[in-house]
């Protein structure tokens, strides 16, 4: 399955990229699995995750075509 991944704010700066495509052969993939493919470091406690623009958590199971976003706590406008 193909997953589009997006990063915002300081996390984007730290990873050095704004978005990427990640492919999986496995059938069962969670946000936590996705993060393992992205980074060698464990996901920081304060990092938020959204799947298809809705907040969720790392146990969320992904499906083909999902857009997953990781970002630091929002600071408001």
């Amino acid at each position: 399955m193909e997953i589009k991944v997006r990063y915002f704010a300081s996390l984007r700066d730290r990873l050095g990229r704004a978005e990427e495509q990640v492919s999986f052969d496995e059938e069962t993939v969670t946000v936590a699995d996705l993060w393992q493919r992205i980074s060698d470091e464990p996901i920081a406690d304060n990092i938020l995750v959204a799947v298809n623009m809705e907040y969720t958590d790392t146990s969320h199971r992904l499906k083909h075509g999902d857009e997953v976003a990781f970002f630091p706590p929002v600071t408001g406008g």
Binding site: A9, L48, M53, D57, F71, P73, V74, T75, G76, G77
Partner: protein, 157 residues
């Protein structure tokens, strides 16, 4: 209901007048409550030149629209407008305008306050200060209440 994010300079009253003309039936609302948020001088970091506001195109609008809909459900109001600026801005620039039309002014006050509280505390925006040397510094916490955004997200999750 209109929610817009803009990278251009924001003229809050032009937005209010244009939307009212376009969307509100004339003579039906008794009043409109408006909040205009402006970029303040920096008190802490004197070497800060400007602010860059990051957002998540699509998600930011969707979540603001949802909060405006919550306000429409909760209070007896006729319509809401939110225009929020993103990108680089300097002190005195208008950042956001929220307008709530209603026949009853109490409801527009409550609804407008509800929406701006969400925007300032929990909406998906990220502030980045830019120093006079051009360095970026991401703001870690909401200035008004560092705990609010996180609490709300936990509740939502």
């Amino acid at each position: 209901m209109k929610v817009a994010i803009t990278k251009e300079a924001l003229d809050p009253y032009k937005e209010v007048v244009a939307y009212e003309r376009e969307a509100l039936p004339p003579g039906k609302h008794g009043g409109v409550v408006i909040f205009v948020g402006t970029m303040r001088d920096f008190n802490d970091g004197e070497n800060v030149r400007s602010m860059n506001l990051d957002y998540y195109p699509g998600m930011t609008e969707r979540h603001i629209e949802r909060v405006c809909q919550e306000a429409m459900d909760e209070w007896d109001i006729m319509d809401t407008l939110v225009v929020h600026r993103v990108g680089e801005m300097v002190p005195t620039d208008p950042i956001v305008v929220v307008a709530v039309w209603s026949a009853h002014r109490k409801d527009s006050f409550d609804a407008c306050r509800y929406i701006i509280n969400y925007l300032k505390e929990s909406a998906p925006f990220w502030k980045c200060e830019i120093t006079t040397e051009g360095k970026k510094h991401w703001v870690e916490h909401n200035s008004e209440d560092p705990g609010v955004a996180k609490r709300r997200l936990q509740k939502t999750a």
